[in-house]
């Protein structure tokens, strides 16, 4: 059920787009209204969630034991894993965001005979890295549909991505990589019993959505080709805020667009928000200076204290009478 329902959900989205365009000819709805609404939901929802997170106080540094912290001068500090300067934090965040440093530490725990064994497990890191970087390159490549003239950098990126010159239209390496990575990330959840146990519908649904987007995009490019000039006319009319009733474009395009819109709308509600959340990781984005700087809890309220000096002054006579020792006579 955890796998079936998300799969059926994505298939329902595909069918909805297909029926809406090929059957009911709701091209304006699926080509203009839905993408605009989804983008608006994405932008506003993203901001609201990050601001909600930002309201949580994080008064103290959370040092983690990834590397030697700044200590005595003859003990070598690990400046990236345990930074004591803002620059070091920028380096640690860059490693985290661009190369998934934390995931690289992933371990596998196994019982070997009677002994518990820990080993390095890098496949998840590799699969995740390949997926995210392919995704980024694909998104950047798509900018050619939103800019006129197309910047040279975007064209060079596409040239580099297709430099193998396989087939026509040229095969993009990232198209193959993203499908392979998504397949791996899906199979991992299904085939590893422990991961299957902890996987939820909210884990499978984005996977199926992205598989659907990648598959529909690949099919549109290589199999059921569409008129790319008509596609760009539509996308350009969207970003110039002069939406035009789309020309005849194949249904596969609307399926692709509708799945992308679904991701945009679903984004702020889902685990995909780790895109913004990674920048707010409290163990990664703060300088570890707990030993050199005193951090006061900002919501400490003023406490009424009765010091011993005041106490003694108040009860001096009685204490003297009872023969108690006094600090000041």
């Amino acid at each position: 059920m955890k796998i079936l329902y998300p799969l059926l959900g994505v298939l329902a989205l595909v069918l909805l787009a297909y029926a809406g365009v090929a059957g009911a000819h709701l091209n304006v709805l699926f080509g203009i209204v839905v993408p605009y609404l989804a983008f608006l939901l994405f932008l506003v929802g993203f901001m609201v969630r990050v601001i909600t997170w930002g309201r949580s106080p994080v008064p103290f540094r959370i040092p983690t034991t990834c590397g030697q912290q700044k200590s005595l001068p003859w003990i070598k500090q690990n400046r990236l894993e345990n930074p004591s300067s803002a620059l070091g934090v920028v380096g640690r965040m860059a490693l985290e965001v661009l190369l998934f440093r934390s995931l690289f530490r992933n371990l596998k725990t196994e019982k070997r005979g009677d002994r518990l064994a820990y080993g390095s497990a890098k496949w998840l890191w590799l699969g995740g890295l390949v997926f995210h970087w392919s995704f980024l390159i694909i998104v950047l490549r798509h900018l050619r549909l939103f800019m006129e003239p197309v910047p040279v950098l975007i064209m060079q990126l596409a040239n580099l991505d297709s430099f193998l010159q396989i087939g026509v239209p040229l095969f993009y390496i990232t198209d193959g990589l993203i499908l392979a990575a998504l397949t791996y990330l899906f199979l991992r959840r299904v085939l590893v019993p422990q991961i299957r146990y902890i996987s939820l519908q909210a884990d499978y649904f984005p996977l199926f959505l992205f598989l659907g987007i990648a598959a529909s995009g690949v099919l549109m490019r290589y199999v059921w080709k569409v008129d790319i000039v008509a596609v760009k006319a539509l996308t350009m009319s969207l970003v110039t805020l002069r939406p035009e009733v789309p020309l005849a474009i194949g249904a596969i395009f609307y399926i692709h667009l509708f799945l992308v819109s679904a991701v945009f709308a679903y984004f702020p509600l889902s685990k995909l928000m780790h895109m913004g959340g990674v920048f707010l990781s409290p163990t990664r984005n703060m300088i570890n200076n707990s030993r050199s700087v005193r951090h006061l809890n900002p919501w400490n309220y003023p406490v009424q204290v009765h010091t011993y000096e005041a106490y003694e002054a108040e009860f001096r006579a009685k204490m003297k009478k009872a023969g108690l020792p006094l600090e000041t006579e």
């Binding site: 993203f46 930002g54 994080v58 900018l143 800019m147 006129e148 003239p149 000039v229 006319a233 002069r242």
Partner: protein, 131 residues
């Protein structure tokens, strides 16, 4: 907000990136490409059709050209029979460019618009028919 300044600044940066396609197109009108097909040779034709239908050519011309290249250069086949049963010589410069003698105004308009860089012209002469 705790460290609100940095979070807001980050969000603004994110918003700018997300809205970039809209921002850089402010005030621009989206001009669609208009490939020119009124060359002198085409104007003289009685039935102005390409080797296949226009819709087919729009989406499949690159595939067809690839097949033509393989047929001519690898299999030595020099005649293409289309879906209507008509025959055409397999040649970019002597078939395609005979009618479309204006590749700058025909091929390039859409290719530039869609940021496609075909490698036809790595070998072929874009100037027109070879003598």
């Amino acid at each position: 907000m705790y460290k609100g300044g940095r979070i807001i600044a980050g969000l603004l940066l994110f918003a700018c990136l997300a809205l970039m396609p809209f921002l850089i197109n402010i005030g621009k009108a989206a001009a669609k490409p208009s490939p020119q097909v009124n060359t002198p040779f085409i104007q003289q034709l009685t039935t102005q059709t390409c080797v296949e239908s226009a819709a087919f050519m729009k989406t499949e011309h690159m595939q067809l050209l690839n097949q033509w290249r393989d047929a001519a250069l690898r299999d030595g086949k020099t005649v293409y029979v289309n879906s209507q049963g008509q025959s055409f010589p397999i040649s970019l410069e002597n078939s395609c460019l005979k009618c479309h003698s204006n590749p700058q105004q025909f091929c390039n308009t859409c290719h530039t618009y869609a940021a496609v860089k075909p490698y036809c012209w790595d070998c072929h002469n874009q100037g027109g028919t070879r003598q």
